[in-house]
Symmetry: C2
Subunit: 393 residues, 2 copies
């Protein structure tokens, strides 16, 4: 089905420091007028249901005009009001979260004539996480030693958990129930640090290029290991092996080498390891404070990257002595945008109520699923869309 034939509705935005994330729903054209019965017993029996897809896209915040063009080309700017029976005078409201919802209010009004309906960032992250964990099949997984394993989430035993969202910066949120949460910590060493420092240290032109480079790198060229200090031996008494990193980038102090003498691959890997490990450690220490055994890591820093996930998982495993578990989410980058999307219902904005979404045919994230269309320069990852049904109220 061509997307242009689909009826698009419910755009929601998450405008962060580095990236803008979009979520929108497209109704399948072939059943746009059909009203199937609801197959599950959840109190919605008999209500009309629409089949369709949730789509995901992202743009760099620095290239916000690409995002605006994309929204205009798809007429997504009409989605906030088209079902509302609004006249041209009436306000067209698009749900948005993240700091950019405040920063770019005037720009969206001017360029697209839409109002950004601001939703709190933490509210949205939690709503997005809860939705994914409860409603999307095979969403959460563990990753260790190159092995990915989907986690069976018992819906009755989901809470409490620690949600770690790694965007430009990092937020750590203790989630106790739907809408019940507290931001307990965070760190300013996050994805923006990896990309910012990485840009300065290498000639990489994009985050993904930097991430790609790290796969060929060897962090031991730059990191000072315990063995480097102890002359090749372990420091057994406190459980540090000779290959434990004593000091990230510590080898760069004693060399006569300049920046140009190091391979960008090695720099990228060392940086990625330093930051991933640090986030894993701080996350664990916060999980420990509240006795949380499960930590879900999300945010666009991760990008399903094996080494990142492995480092985070190993850090949590190491520091917790196996007591706590790191888990990852397939739609890791879109929690905030999904949460903003969910908020349409909360405010009863529309006669198309997104009451519950059921994934019907999960696609393997590695094959990308249904590709989001967008301009070639928007550096979209292959973000799997979610097949779903929505109920008409």
């Amino acid at each position: 089905m061509e997307e242009s034939e689909a009826q698009i509705s419910h755009l929601a935005l998450d405008i962060g420091g580095s990236l803008i994330k979009l979520v929108y729903f497209s109704r399948n054209s072939d059943n746009s007028s059909s009203k199937n019965s609801v197959p599950v017993s959840n109190g919605n029996e008999g209500r009309p249901v629409l089949e369709g897809k949730l789509h995901f896209a992202k743009f760099e915040t620095a290239k916000i005009h690409d995002c605006i063009d994309f929204i205009q080309s798809k007429q997504l700017c009409l989605t906030g009001c088209q079902h509302h029976g609004s006249s041209a005078d009436e306000k067209c409201i698009i749900k948005a979260t993240g700091g950019g919802a405040y920063k770019f209010t005037d720009l969206f009004k001017e360029k697209l004539g839409i109002c950004l309906g601001k939703e709190d960032e933490m509210d949205c992250l939690v709503a997005g996480a809860n939705f994914l964990l409860k409603s999307v099949h095979d969403e959460a997984f563990t990753y260790m030693d190159g092995q990915k394993e989907f986690a069976q989430i018992d819906h009755d035993d989901l809470y409490p958990y620690l949600l770690v969202n790694i965007g430009s910066g990092v937020s750590m949120i203790k989630v106790d129930g739907p809408g019940k949460f507290e931001r307990v910590s965070g760190t300013n060493v996050g994805g923006g640090t990896f990309w910012g420092l990485g840009r300065l240290l290498t000639k990489c032109k994009s985050f993904d290029e930097l991430l790609e480079l790290s796969q060929q790198g060897n962090n031991r060229v730059i990191d000072m290991l315990v063995g480097d200090i102890y002359g090749g031996t372990d420091y057994k008494k406190i459980g540090l092996t000779s290959t434990t990193i004593a000091s990230s980038f510590g080898k760069a102090i004693s060399d006569n080498k300049e920046l140009e003498d190091y391979k960008p691959e090695d720099i990228s890997r060392s940086l990625l390891r330093m930051i991933s490990n640090n986030i894993g450690q701080i996350s664990y220490l916060n999980a420990l404070r509240f006795g949380l055994k499960r930590i879900f890591f999300a945010g666009f820093f991760i990008r399903g990257h094996a080494y990142t996930m492995d480092t985070i998982a190993v850090a949590v495993h190491f520091w917790s002595k196996g007591e706590a578990k790191a888990m990852f989410l397939r739609h890791e980058g879109f929690l905030g945008a999904l949460g903003a999307f969910m908020s349409y219902e909360k405010h009863g904005f529309d006669n198309l109520m997104v009451h519950q979404l059921l994934q019907q045919s999960p696609t393997d994230p590695s094959d990308g699923g249904d590709k989001t269309h967008g301009p070639a320069n928007s550096e979209l990852n292959d973000n799997p869309s979610i097949n779903c049904s929505v109920y008409l109220s």
Copy 2:
């Protein structure tokens, strides 16, 4: 008094990944034969006492030959055996700790004919800290908003505390009593990371130059602040002001600037703040685990640098909501070396037993006290020597 006139004894070494720290005792020549009575009631009344000074020096580990020359020029290599009545054939043992005590065993044997008597690194750090906190007047201080305040340490209420030693890497040790401790955590983001990354990002030729630069820098040029994301406003709901750093180095992602376009001053400051804040946060989270209210920060990363101490103190204050307190030590860099020095007594190596040391005239660390003599290129800081008395056994 010329140091050459003094009788030097008891050299001890701490050979880390970046720096070698030396401690040695010189007896004042004018009282070398006097045997004063002991002025305090501590069980040592009537025992002979010597007046003298503890001296401190440091060298870069990469320039270990400078250190060896220094030891040779001062004949410090004889101090482990001169009171031992050893013949030339007998082993001359110098106490040493840190990984380099293992790595450079053969080098010291070959160049100086001495054996390094290896002492455990954590044992030494704790022994050094306990000695400084108990026996040296005005050793510990708090630092906040540019105000230094000496802490009155109640000797009966010293334990437990968290000791955070920031060398190339960072060790966090819960200290429960003399010789009673556990290394509970650490991080590989430490002084080696600051200097290693700093060297790669700036043209600085020394750690001190990099530190000096940071004083003129402005981290907001490179760090992404909450206000940068939120369009100048706070994110009040979770207590983040517009000037809170959301992402260290995060501004470097969206600029078209290259490394050369940034001032080394700004890079240095951002780096120093990132690392100091991170260490402060992880330290606090570990203090919290064990209900420790006092955290002593030591190690040669700090160097009495105002911005470093301020950042660490603010981090501890912020994350603990004022519950925990960061404290610093005047002889911050020499805990391990002092601990190794103390270990002579433990092993009964010598007839000059270092039973207790009393500081008599503390010097202001800002004026450097009695400067350690050393080769011009050894980049010695002004490490205040400690006037002290030792008891003859």
